[in-house]
């Protein structure tokens, strides 16, 4: 075969493969929107579940997921950004720094259900937080940490060295340079990374299975030591453990969860591209 012809055939095949990757994504999102939209109305979003979850709304699950995500953010952001500042601004290339990087790669690779086991062992049982929002948030925070650290470190490293040297030449201390010059410049990148990390936490089921999730709890949580329903867990139990569950409610739950997670993802993308365009270095 002529090699130029071969190139054209090859490129066409590559394009076709990309299509094979992308089309199912459209199919999944499209199906869930099409089948779930009928179930989603004001009552579905704001009412308590009724009749063994077969009717009514999913309000407590939505609130539960939002609270858990907020709790995760509160715990993960300071530690994650601090860790990133250490790695990008303070750490020298020693064996210890390499060990930290290895640890981060490994944290990122630990299966989510193992985080669930760890959360059960440490927070629920050992520290006696019980099955609670506190235990679930902390478990999710640890799982989110590597995402935040890596993204924040990358954002900090993208700030040119000159910004730091100029700050120092004006008599600023190292911390002042970081606090007033580097961190503000890196902020959009850090925020993007944080959102991407939190989005994963919001959609996770396995880590909350034994640390926070309630099967059926038609009221809002009152304290950090309460259990709560969450959207992913609600979808899981209604699709496996409630016989005779109307399919439409399941699709509706899936749609709300998907919409929540994807809007976070869009937000992250918008922030990133907005600031990338405005960046002057």
């Amino acid at each position: 075969m002529n090699r130029h012809l071969m190139q054209r055939v090859g490129f066409a095949l590559l394009g076709l493969t990309a299509l094979v990757v992308v089309l199912p994504i459209l199919l999944v999102v499209g199906t869930i929107v099409a089948r779930g939209i009928g179930a989603v109305d004001w009552e579905f979003l704001t009412a308590m579940p009724r009749d063994g979850m077969k009717a009514g709304g999913i309000f407590p699950a939505i609130v539960g997921t939002l609270i858990l995500t907020l709790g995760t953010a509160l715990a993960a952001i300071p530690v994650g950004v601090g860790g990133a500042i250490y790695l990008s601004e303070y750490a020298r290339d020693t064996w210890l720094t390499r060990a930290i990087r290895l640890a981060i790669i490994n944290l990122a690779g630990i299966p989510s259900v193992v985080y669930g086991l760890f959360g059960l062992g440490l927070f629920v049982l050992f520290l006696q937080f019980g099955t609670s929002i506190l235990a679930g948030s902390l478990t999710l925070a640890i799982m989110t940490l590597p995402v935040i650290i890596s993204a924040a470190e990358e954002a900090l490293r993208a700030v040119p060295v000159e910004f730091r040297t100029v700050s120092a030449s004006l008599g600023g201390t190292r911390w002042q340079g970081i606090r007033y010059i580097v961190l503000p410049q890196a902020l959009p990148g850090i925020i993007t990374g944080v959102i991407l990390g939190l989005l994963r936490a919001a959609g996770e089921t396995a880590p909350v299975l034994f640390t926070v999730a309630a099967f059926f709890l038609p009221r809002l949580p009152q304290s950090p030591f309460d259990q709560t329903m969450t959207l992913p867990y609600h979808l899981y139990v209604t699709s496996t453990q409630v016989p005779g569950m109307p399919l439409e409610i399941q699709y509706g739950t899936a749609l709300v969860l998907l919409a929540l997670v994807l809007s976070m993802s869009v937000l992250a993308t918008v922030i990133r591209s907005h600031y990338r365009r405005r960046r002057q270095w």
Binding site: I25, G83, G109, P111, V114, E204, A206, Y236, V261
Partner: protein, 311 residues
């Protein structure tokens, strides 16, 4: 970063404010502690898995633990079917995901026109964002019936269905890491290939891909790590029958993975029972497996850095 003028800077600072250095000392110390936290967390996770999981080795004879039957109600804790279940599903997922992911990465990075790239990359990010329970739900309600009818098997909840879903879940990781690897190949390599009279197609396969191979290996391993640790999707679509997948047709039968076992059974066991310890024991296996896979993946980056080339 330059550290040489630190002393001087501290002195100037002392003149303007005597409080600041102490506050800063505190903040910097805190940042250092936080910086080390990831090591502490990995150790802590392992310690807690050990603490809750190791007792099973004293409560259950080894022959039972590595046996072929997992029936906790009859005190049979054979992890072999679960281990093989995970391995089977992950392996098939990789067979599907690797060619797809590689081809897509090459297409996006080397071939696609600008508009196609603008469409493909956000789509892949969308895929990365879809919660695993949603994909599992989709697989259970829509893909499983299709599998059942086209293959004429009794249930569509099979190892193959799980592998299919897992493949798509591993794709975003594989594509983005492979793309970074292709990105790291200098333009001069491509120019040299073309200057030798090779077509772009030949340059891609004989120059660019071989030059990016360590990154591609890493993409494969990180994808594999994700696949083996995936829980909810697998639990919803693989049917969860703990039987030894040895023959070829077990691909189209229900299978049960380690992750699904932990997730499904942990809610129902009594704390401190043998079954409870056994599930933590599975957690130890999962931890060690992903640890080794990620260590191997990481070593390819560190090797590349040491060589200093290709950047």
């Amino acid at each position: 970063m330059c550290r040489c003028d630190e002393k001087m800077m501290d002195q100037t600072d002392n003149r303007t404010s005597s409080r600041r250095p102490w506050a800063e000392f505190g903040i910097e110390a805190l940042i250092q502690v936080v910086g080390f936290s990831s090591i502490g967390l990995v150790v802590l996770i392992f310690l807690f898995l050990i603490r809750e999981g190791v007792p099973v080795f004293f409560e259950v004879p080894l022959g039972n633990l590595f046996g072929t039957r997992w029936y906790p109600t009859f005190d049979l804790f054979g992890t072999l079917p679960l281990l093989l279940g995970s391995v089977l599903v992950t392996a098939i997922a990789m067979v599907i995901a690797l060619p797809l992911g590689m081809a897509t990465a090459i297409f996006v990075r080397e071939v696609a026109p600008g508009w196609a790239r603008e469409v493909l990359k956000p789509m892949i990010e969308v895929l990365a964002g879809i919660p695993s329970v949603v994909l599992g739900f989709f697989g259970m309600t829509l893909i499983a019936p299709v599998v059942r009818e086209t293959l004429g098997v009794p249930t569509g909840l099979t190892a193959f269905t799980g592998a299919l879903i897992l493949a798509y879940m591993a794709l975003p990781t594989i594509i983005s890491v492979a793309e970074d690897a292709l990105d790291a190949v200098p333009k001069s390599y491509r120019d040299a290939g073309l200057a030798m009279g090779a077509t772009q197609w030949q340059t891609i396969w004989r120059v660019v891909v071989p030059a990016a191979r360590s990154g591609i290996v890493m993409a494969m391993m990180l994808g594999m790590g994700r696949a083996i640790g995936e829980t909810m999707a697998v639990m919803l679509v693989t049917g969860n029958a703990a039987r030894l997948p040895l023959s070829l047709d077990s691909l189209f039968r229900p299978v049960r993975t380690m992750t699904a076992t932990v997730a499904a059974e942990m809610g129902e066991v009594a704390q401190g029972s043998t079954h409870y310890h056994a599930l933590f024991g599975i957690g130890i296996i999962l931890f060690l497996l992903t640890f080794v896979i990620n260590l191997a993946a990481a070593s390819t980056i560190f090797k590349k850095r040491r060589r200093g080339g290709l950047r």
